[in-house]
Symmetry: C2
Subunit: 197 residues, 2 copies
């Protein structure tokens, strides 16, 4: 269950100023998060993630290419731990790897994510970082990769969570610490409605 | 012509320690650059790029998903400018964009890169950052996007350049300032031979 949600005000303000709501429940934040990126905002967000997970031992940050890389690398820099990004295509030079299937509602298709066995080791504690949490399918794929490796996802951090999709509820029911910096309750009528704390 | 090449020693050392040379001229650096990333090394490299381009006015950092994002974002943070990453697939929510074709020798196929017209503006000075420079086709695609926008690529920075492929020579002949932190002269017989300064 979602408790003690803290909206991260610099992000909320930026979404209000520069985010765009498109028909079909799409929130467009490509001027500062996932096409053009504001590194200074990203740094502030990384500091905030680090603060929220301060009580948790973390060996590595885990993410998925492509738009998870920027927030993940900034968190990894703050934590001083390696960052691993799962790939959506199997590199020709990768032999031993963990593989999971992820269904994307946005694109209405299933894709494969993979990670070399070298980079997720048994017993490692991982922090999964991504830009969006909607149905949580990418996150579930990461849980699967971690399980295959005998590692543990010790927490998950998302820039934006869409509370009208089921991902957040599903992940929190598993007992995971899920931290979202902005939670959107609704995008109906092309209006961004934020969850209040 | 390549003049005053300065090998960036922390990177050279790391490649010697952890890089792997595979048959077919492949340099595998996926334990610290393009699958697992060492954010502290990345930060050092970003500082070095910023030092090398210190005399150049730069409005934005430009890169291509996915493995260019991490170094680009770190450089953007140091420079305090936005980072734009060109996408390899046209997002469904993007309408007005610049498009270029890029031929990948590694994958032996042509792919499309695109960038929203919102994020490269006329007269902007861009710094292109990427992980590898081999044949320079991705870089040429970026020059094309910039040209379409009426913007200018004011410099290019690469983590690793393969001097036995033609990209570096082609780009420097155009008069561009091209900075590579490590230049590999040969990968013959699965041995990494670095260029000396």
């Amino acid at each position: 269950m979602l408790q003690n949600y803290q909206p991260f005000e610099p992000l909320i303000k930026r979404i209000r100023d520069d985010g765009k709501c498109l028909p079909g429940g799409i929130l467009k934040v490509d001027s500062f998060i996932n096409h053009q990126i504001d590194p200074m905002l990203l740094k502030q967000m990384a500091d905030e993630f680090v603060r929220r997970f301060a009580g948790t031992h973390l060996d590595k940050v885990l993410t998925i290419e492509a738009s998870g890389i920027a927030p993940a690398i900034m968190v990894g820099l703050e934590l001083k731990v390696p960052v691993v990004f799962a790939k959506k295509k199997k590199p020709s030079t990768m032999s031993e790897m963990y593989v999971a299937e992820v269904f994307s509602f946005t694109k209405n298709k299933t894709y494969t994510v993979c990670c070399s066995k070298e980079f997720i080791r048994p017993d490692e504690k991982l922090l999964f970082i991504d830009d969006f949490l909607a149905n949580g399918n990418a996150a579930k794929g990461m849980l699967e990769l971690a399980e295959q490796a005998g590692a543990q996802i010790a927490g998950m951090g998302f820039i934006v969570e869409k509370a009208f999709q089921s991902g957040g509820a599903i992940l929190r029911e598993k007992g995971l610490q899920v931290e979202s910096l902005a939670i959107i309750e609704s995008l109906d009528n092309c209006t961004i409605k934020f969850k209040e704390n």
